[in-house]
């Protein structure tokens, strides 16, 4: 199993969720984060003290999937989260050694179904 971590633009979340559901992903976890990258932040102004805010609000999506779903899921995310503008975000893939469903104690494939 793999853990897919995607950093996306917040207003894309709903779209991504729908697309992932369609290909059979049954669960995911999202976090409000702030990202720093090539996309420039904005300037803020407080009583004349101008300063640059480098960190931009993004949404982090974590999706645990079985190996055979990885490729499809990544493609789905790329397609739905892409706006073609800088700052669309990144996808990270790490290996998941085990997954357990707390309620039932089921593991791995069963835990993800």
């Amino acid at each position: 199993m793999k853990l897919i971590t995607a950093i996306i633009k917040p207003f894309k979340l709903e779209e991504v969720r729908v697309v992932l559901s369609n290909i059979g992903v049954t669960g995911m976890t999202t976090t409000d984060i702030k990202g720093f990258g090539r996309q420039k932040g904005h300037t803020e102004l407080y009583r004349g003290a101008e300063y640059v805010v480098d960190f931009l609000p993004k949404t982090k999506l974590e999706i645990a999937v079985t190996d055979e779903l990885v490729e499809q899921a990544v493609e789905a995310i790329i397609e739905s989260a892409n706006t073609g503008k800088i700052g669309d975000g990144k996808i990270f893939i790490t290996n998941l050694e085990q997954v357990i469903r707390i309620r039932t104690g089921e593991t791995d494939r069963e835990a993800l179904s």
């Binding site: 803020e44 102004l45 407080y46 009583r47 004349g48 003290a49 101008e50 300063y51």
Partner: protein, 431 residues
Amino acid sequence: MKKFLDTAIFSLVATGFWPTLAYADQFNAADTAWILTASGLVLFMTVPGLALFYGGLVRTKNVLSIMMKCFAITSVVSVLWLLGGYSLALSDGGSWQALLGGFSKLTLATVNAHTVKDNLPETVFCMYHLTFAIFAPALIIGGVAERMKFSALLWFVALWEILIYVPVCHWIWGGGWLSQLGVMDFAGGIVVHTTGGVAAMIGAIMVGARHGFPRVPMPPHNLTMTATGAGVLWVGWHGFSAGSALMANGSAGIAMLSTHMSAAAGSLAWMTIEWFRFGKPSVLGLLTGLVAGLGMIAPSAGFVSPLSGLVIGLIAGCVCFFSLHAIKRRLAFDDTLDVFAIHGVGGIIGSLLTAIFASEALGGIGQLADDGISGQLLAQAIAVLSVLVWSGLMSYAILKLVDKTIGLRVGASDESLGLDISLHNEQGYNY
């Protein structure tokens, strides 16, 4: 205009300026109704008005400490006012009347439901003035926010109230030497804004800058809170200005209109400057201009025409914008919420402008001192200067004393943790 009316009122009445005034030892119920209301409005300016305005401007970790200070100051000053402040500020001082009031009203023991002060029940007069005595020191905390000890602040405020606010109030509104010079201060340009603004500057310097200032940006944590507070200040200020007529009459109406126009013009001026200079107008800019307008009109509100109010507001927006930026750039000191640049500078300039805009030629009610504008300008300058020096020196002395005894400032790690937890064991938000 307050107590000083006593000496000036008859000429005004003679000129038909005050249309209804029953000068018996009976109070006027209509005036009473209005001043009861106005007292509520001015109290509203401090709690929760200023608490919200200032609270939104600090960082999350210090929001409660600011609000706490507003409430605690309100309570402490109220008790002091009852015990002796009122008596020393606004009762007759007999032979030292030029300098200070007397002792006859200590603990308000001789004030009851049928004591009358001019056109008002004295209770109402006393309560109304109390709300001003609260607002002035509350202003100061903006200068020392995010680092001053709570205990040190309480001691400072208590001493400041007695040693600075009370005498200055007496000098100008209690029949003291400045009122005898004919100084005009309708709603506290000198008594409230100059005293408080100067003290905030001295405080900011003596407490020292916040760690990281000015390198680390310390943006307001909640500007909706600040905007709410500004709205409350705007509304409450109508009690501050129009209430200072101490009557429900055309003078109150003029004060309300002029004040309102000054606030409007101040906000538009600041907004426009920002728009040209930074490309975008900010909410905080607009609100700052608004408060600058409110502060600068205070000394002249009931003396000038509404159109002059507008002009004063424009001046306020421009002057305070540049004073704020000058101070920020020179970085001389960390006046956290810019109290001196706005209230200090605004109050001082406004007090001087009063001499000009009060001119009958400009629709004002005329000067009170001899020799028209120049004579009045002299009187105003004397008043501003002496109050500036008095408040500055005494504030310095009190802060020095407090520093030597209990210390002015929290430790570095407490400052970094935030005053809410380090001083009050609480957090503003637990979402």
